[in-house]
């Protein structure tokens, strides 16, 4: 009887762990397929023109998405300008002083903001920027991305600063170092790699966003660096091309996908490797 129980327990153990292994295999299937498709379809459509040429009108083949690539950079840049100071400073506040009702509220609202679907951010940017200005613009896109990036940066900054042991702060304070210097030169410095990681991941995420740009920065088939004008972005281009009926555009959409993925994966992987997964858990 006991023997039976024992073997049953051993068997259950083995069986459950096997199931876990199977989960991994299942999860890896789409990843492999996506990679395969993107590389197979995207890589073949890529050439130098893709990076340097403007989109060609319907019907003409060739051309590229140079303006979209630049547009994505500008939009993300705009978003960063807006979100970095707010995100980092607020993050410091929450980590260093945030254990009161005000901090709790801000933290809660930051979480809310973090959870808000990106499309809603786009809607807000639309009502706040596009409606009054009466036209789509890079500004609107930048605002949407900025709003999107703020909570990520704030919370990662806070969480990472919190991983700095309290004892380190006390050590600094006990040396007669003022609190603000402690926060900046001990705590922030200790967690700097994590904070930068958080920023880069926020950037990567923003660069991959489509929804908030759909009706803020809209799109633009022409070269444009004016912030006041609609602006192209890689993601919106991919969307538009992908759902189009033209094979040529679909091929370009795959190429764009390939570029986007390479960019973003390189960005986040470098960061992740550099920080050796230390903060990965806090960054999602």
């Amino acid at each position: 009887m006991d023997n039976y129980r024992f073997h049953f327990r051993k068997f259950t153990s083995l069986f459950m762990f096997t199931l876990c292994g199977v989960s991994v295999l299942i999860a890896l299937v789409p990843l492999v397929l996506i990679f395969y498709r993107t590389v197979a379809f995207g890589f073949s459509a890529i050439n130098w023109d893709f990076f340097t040429q403007m989109p060609k009108p319907v019907g003409e083949s060739g051309g590229g998405l140079a303006n979209a690539i630049v547009g994505t950079m500008i939009l993300v840049g705009l978003g960063s300008c807006m979100s970095l100071p707010v995100g980092i400073m607020a993050g410091i506040y929450l980590a260093e002083y945030g254990d009161n009702w005000f901090g709790q509220s801000v933290r809660f609202l930051t979480d809310v903001l973090n959870g808000i679907p990106s499309i809603v951010t786009g809607v807000v940017a639309y009502t706040v920027v596009v409606l009054p200005m009466k036209h789509f613009s890079a500004y609107a896109g930048g605002v949407a991305l900025g709003i999107l990036m703020i909570p990520t940066i704030t919370r990662t900054t806070e969480e990472i600063l919190r991983t700095v042991p309290h004892s380190l702060r006390e050590a600094a304070l006990a040396l007669g170092i003022p609190r603000w210097k402690t926060s900046l030169q001990i705590v922030l410095r200790t967690a700097m790699s994590g904070v930068v990681t958080g920023i880069l991941l926020a950037v990567a995420r923003a660069a991959g966003e489509t929804a908030p740009l759909l009706f803020t920065a809209l799109n633009n088939r022409f070269w444009n660096t004016s912030m006041n004008q609609p602006m192209a972005s890689l993601t919106v281009f991919i969307y538009n091309y992908a759902v189009s009926p033209f094979d040529d555009w679909i091929a370009q959409a795959w190429a764009g996908t390939f570029v986007l993925m390479t960019l973003i994966l390189l960005l986040s992987l470098t960061v992740r490797l550099a920080t050796r997964n230390k903060f990965a858990g806090n960054l999602l």
Partner: protein
Amino acid sequence: MVGHLLVRPLYFLQIMESIITAQHTFKASKGRLINPGDLIFKNLTRFFAALILVLVVLMAYEMIRTSALSWNKFGFNFFIRSVWDPVQDEYGALPFIYGTLVSSLLSIVIAVPLSLGIAVFLTEVAPRWLERPVSFFVEMLAGIPSIVYGVWGFFVMVPWLRSTVEPFISKHLGFIPLFRGAPYGVGMLAAGIILSIMILPIIASISRDVLKAVPRSQTEAALALGSTRWQATRIALAYSRSGIFGAVILGLGRAIGETMAVTMVIGNRPTISASLFEPGYTMASVLANEFTEATSEMYISALVEIALTLFIITIIINSFARLLMWSVTSNERAQKA
């Protein structure tokens, strides 16, 4: 590069420090002395924190203001009507709400067991040489932008569902209403699957982190009692249940708000159907599809009301998660005291 941006504000603060000579001391409210630099720094950061508060309030205000038109006209009926007729300016959001809920629940049902399996595999089974690359791949999944999933789903998964999976399922399980109907490929099932792929890495990697954070002594305690590895794992899972639950809620939030991938595979038809094979529509995808075309004020207002609804759902989910965490931690706190 970006680090540079960081250094600027810090540099500014350093200059500020030299302006404040440390000899001045400020009286805080309680009559105890406080360092002046601290006072300034604290208030400066507090200002930026307040900005976030203002931002959220502003967002809510903007949406409420813009959606007032629609609310005034339809009132609560907006949420239980199935009409969506821009021509007549008649709007009801029920199909979108239904589509959102069904697709995200479906994704949770698929993703949670798989994620937990992965998390357990990574923490308890995988040898180190395997753990690293597998977590790496799982995190890669998380890094892929949703448009990429959309494109892939649109061109690869949907055709496959249409030609292979859905016919197979309806042949064998067709007696269940869920699996009845023509195999369109696009539809709830496609949306659910693509969403589950997207939220899987989130749930899996947070769960893995939470499981990793379980003190070794917990599993060792179980093993030392003569438990099998699986029983010890169950102890670890129980230990980290609130964290895992948080991960699931987070995944749910993501699924509800996910736009592009869903838009590309759900079929975008505002109908309510029992079958998972039928096309549907979600709140996010209706916004993505129709906002640029919205011309009438009422149309925009109705769409903003949908955005507001999403916003409110997000707040509810977050509050719920927070309440849950709070009750867990305060429970522990009470027990410790």
